[in-house]
């Protein structure tokens, strides 16, 4: 499955990439919001994992951009920091499917990805 990961923290994005690749997924990386939006222009991924606070475009803008497309539903997992409950609610209103709060375990992320892809 093709997964787009948008995260501006270099170590974190590589950790997520490593975990997803171990699970056999094809991973597209975007190190800021604009890169993620550009990647979306190339076609729909099977799932998106996005941080909320990123340079150039936020995770919320990415969700809005995905939902504005006429693609079959692409599940979106958001990565949020503690204390961002309001933003998480906004993300759900925009159409996010799940969220993970940092600090998180890569294994937990893997399970959530699997669950969403199975339910798709």
């Amino acid at each position: 499955m093709k997964i787009l990961v948008a995260e501006d923290e270099p170590i974190l994005i590589r950790v997520i990439e490593m975990r997803l690749k171990r699970d056999g997924h094809e991973v597209q990386l975007a190190e800021d919001g604009q890169q993620a939006l550009d990647r979306l222009e190339e076609g729909p991924p099977d799932l998106i994992i996005t941080d909320i606070m990123m340079p150039y475009a936020s995770g919320l803008e990415i969700i809005a951009a995905v939902r504005a497309k006429s693609w079959p539903k692409v599940p979106v997992i958001i990565l949020s920091a503690m204390g961002q409950e309001d933003v998480v609610l906004e993300a759900f209103q925009l159409g996010a499917d799940d969220y993970i709060t940092k600090p998180f375990s890569p294994n937990e992320l893997s399970v959530r990805v699997r669950r969403l892809l199975t339910a798709k």
């Binding site: 270099p10 170590i11 974190l12 950790v15 975990r19 940092k102 375990s105 890569p106 294994n107």
Partner: protein, 366 residues
């Protein structure tokens, strides 16, 4: 030839000096440019090296996150190049910085592995050394590193800094202790003789949100602490944790000498909202200053003061419009009986009561 010319031309001494001055300035400009160039090149080299090692350390951290201990490899493998680079202090700091950043985002086994790497590279010794550095910002940095990397073994040294003279160091040490030990970490409240700022109190309450098991006997002691801010903080903590069992001790704080403590006790009782809260608050009302009186009226409105309608009715006739408005709000919030009380008020059609009542009713409808 030029030199000779200077000596054989006595008719032009001014021009010669001008040339010497120009050459000197030119020489200085060239030297300055060389110096700038040297520093620019050096900075770019340092930056290049930093990026190189940042990338290298990032790879080690990624590997550490997915590392699983086996009999053959009980420790995380560190390449020779990395181990050698870590003999330099600034690169060790770069590794600590990267590790701390990664640790903040990870939990579970991944986080435990990062702590293991921090120990394996003896980076905790660098963090501990910072605690004795005369520069306060380095002390604060060391405290943060130890807290994020869950260094419970350094509690004694951290605990000593909870009463440090520097406010930032003190704040970081208190937060670190609470982060590591939850409610048990609050034992610094027994001894601190410096004030806990409003911001610090909010910070500590946020850190305690995930903790369980409030130490009740300590709470009794902190409620009577000689440090006013400790008493205020304890009342906030009681309200946040809804510790109903200490309601009598909170009520005693309504007679505290400090207005800030009394105000917090009123707000705390409002959160606990026991059956006798309204009675306790109305009894304390006459002895309160304006802020305290307004807080009592707000609290009565919030907890519903059906049994205190006569008391509220009497406050409508006080000369202060702020008290009249807060009383009207409390009556409106009390419900039907409160509204009837307003309607029965003899000066309902007169200014300023008509405006005040209208304001209170409109706010409630909105």
């Amino acid at each position: 030839m030029f030199h000779l010319h200077l000596h054989v031309s006595p008719v032009m001494p001014g021009k010669a000096w001008l040339i010497i001055a120009m050459l000197t300035v030119l020489g200085m400009l060239v030297a300055l440019l060389c110096l700038i160039l040297f520093f620019l090149l050096r900075r770019s080299r340092v930056e290049r090296l930093r990026l190189k090692y940042q990338d290298l350390y990032g790879q080690i951290i990624q590997r550490a996150i997915f590392w699983e201990a086996t009999k053959e490899s009980p420790e995380i493998a560190i390449p020779f190049k990395v181990a050698r680079s870590l003999s330099r202090a600034h690169l060790r700091q770069l590794m600590i910085f990267q590790l701390v950043k990664a640790k903040k985002a990870m939990s579970g086994t991944a986080a435990a592995n990062l702590v293991q790497l921090y120990h394996q590279l003896a980076l905790h010794e660098d963090s501990l050394r910072k605690l004795t550095n005369p520069k306060w910002h380095l002390q604060a940095q060391g405290i943060q590193e130890l807290a994020v990397m869950e260094q419970r073994g350094s509690v004694t040294r951290l605990y000593r800094l909870t009463n440090a003279r520097n406010e930032v160091v003190r704040r970081e040490a208190q937060a670190a202790i609470v982060q590591l030990y939850g409610f048990d970490g609050l034992r610094f409240l027994d001894v601190i003789n410096t004030p806990l700022s409003e911001w610090q109190q909010i910070q500590l309450l946020r850190l305690l949100q995930q903790s369980a098991g409030t130490p009740q006997e300590k709470i009794f002691r902190w409620l009577t602490s000689s440090n006013t801010t400790v008493r205020v903080f304890t009342l906030r903590l009681i309200a946040e944790q809804h510790l109903q069992q200490v309601t009598p001790q909170v009520a005693e704080r309504l007679r505290d000498d400090c207005p800030a403590v009394r105000l917090q006790a009123i707000l705390c009782l409002g959160e606990l909202a026991a059956t006798d809260t309204a009675g306790l608050l109305t009894a304390a009302y006459p002895g309160e200053d304006l802020a305290g009186k307004l807080a009592i009226l707000q609290t009565l409105g919030r907890i519903g003061a059906e049994g205190e309608l006569a008391f509220l009715d009497a406050q409508l006739s006080t000369p202060d419009n702020r008290i009249r408005l807060e009383t009207a709000r409390a009556l409106v919030r009390t419900g039907e009986e409160g509204l009837k009380c307003l309607d029965r008020f003899p000066f309902i059609d007169q200014s300023p009561w008509n405006e005040i009542f209208q304001q209170a009713k409109t706010e409630w409808t909105i």
